[in-house]
Subunit: 187 residues, 2 copies
């Protein structure tokens, strides 16, 4: 997925502003299994996924819990690092060989203070992530695990070919055994 497409989906930038932003973006790639982002560390970069799939998980508890999957076009950000310059909760692991666009948060901050359009792009980035997170929270509070599973099947059918059901179960907030039962009931 091309970077211009990704940036534009967030907020359409005039050519000059977009140039300023893309100037600071590098392409990087890492193999399956690589840990892109570590919970202990304050991260200095954010990423967008060109190709591949990643998961964010927290490992401080005995059994690690996946709480986010990122696919082509998605931003990969430790929000605690990005927003508050604090350690995040999550490690982020690449589940396939993955190509990423990388940008330094320092450079991004500088652009936010210089360019009105980029500041609004940054606003939209946060707003879009906010909507997604809010939707997740509401699903966790209002819906049964079965309903959340069905919703995921509908909204992200492709996900099931790319990640294990163990990861999906913890993403849904249940055990793998529970997920297996849900699948058996539906069948």
């Amino acid at each position: 997925m091309h970077i211009d497409l990704i940036l534009d989906a967030i907020y359409s930038l005039p050519p000059e502003s977009r140039g300023r932003l893309t100037q600071d973006i590098k392409e990087v790639s890492y193999p399956k299994g690589y840990i892109l982002l570590r919970a202990q560390k304050i991260e200095n970069s954010i990423y967008f996924i060109k190709k591949g799939i990643v998961r964010a998980y927290e490992s401080s508890t005995e059994n690690e819990v996946t709480f986010w999957f990122g696919q082509e076009g998605d931003p990969v950000i430790s929000m605690k690092s990005y927003i508050k310059s604090q350690k995040g909760y999550e490690d982020i692991e690449l589940l396939e060989n993955t190509e990423l666009y990388q940008i330094s948060t320092q450079k991004l901050q500088a652009l936010f203070n210089e360019d009105l359009h980029i500041a609004n792009w940054g606003r939209k980035l946060a707003e879009q992530e906010l909507i997604k997170t809010e939707e997740r929270l509401i699903a966790m509070q209002f819906k049964t695990a079965t309903q959340r599973y069905k919703d995921l099947l509908e909204q992200q059918p492709g996900l099931f070919n790319r990640v294990s059901l163990g990861h999906i179960a913890s993403y849904l907030g249940i055990t793998q055994v529970s997920l297996s039962r849900i699948r058996a009931e539906i069948r």
Copy 2:
């Protein structure tokens, strides 16, 4: 709580920009029980709480579920309306007689496109709400109801004098009976 204090806590604005923003802000107040915001409607205003307390709840399901409390200084926003101009999930009810600062989203959007500082203020507003929502989501996925209750007791002890345990129970994602059991165990 004074509006300048609230705005500054989000992002410190230079005097000229702050003036532009506060110019469009009106003070309003409504009595306890008033429904400030309705799920069916696309809202044209956002608010900040000067004095009082409110709750957001979704009522489409049989038993209504509270998923957010707002207190002095907090923004009161239907994010779906504000960000995507779509209907939100939530009704918002005033739990006390409440004084609010009101601003039109249209005027705010106009200011975002005119003033770099205000655009960055808007970015910070979204970012702060994002961090809060993410923390909630993570607590729902990683922590037991008992732990979430204890956390709330610690972080917002004042809340318990202002809202019923029934509302708090649904906020924590459990039934009132469950909450009562938790409280009995701890005692």
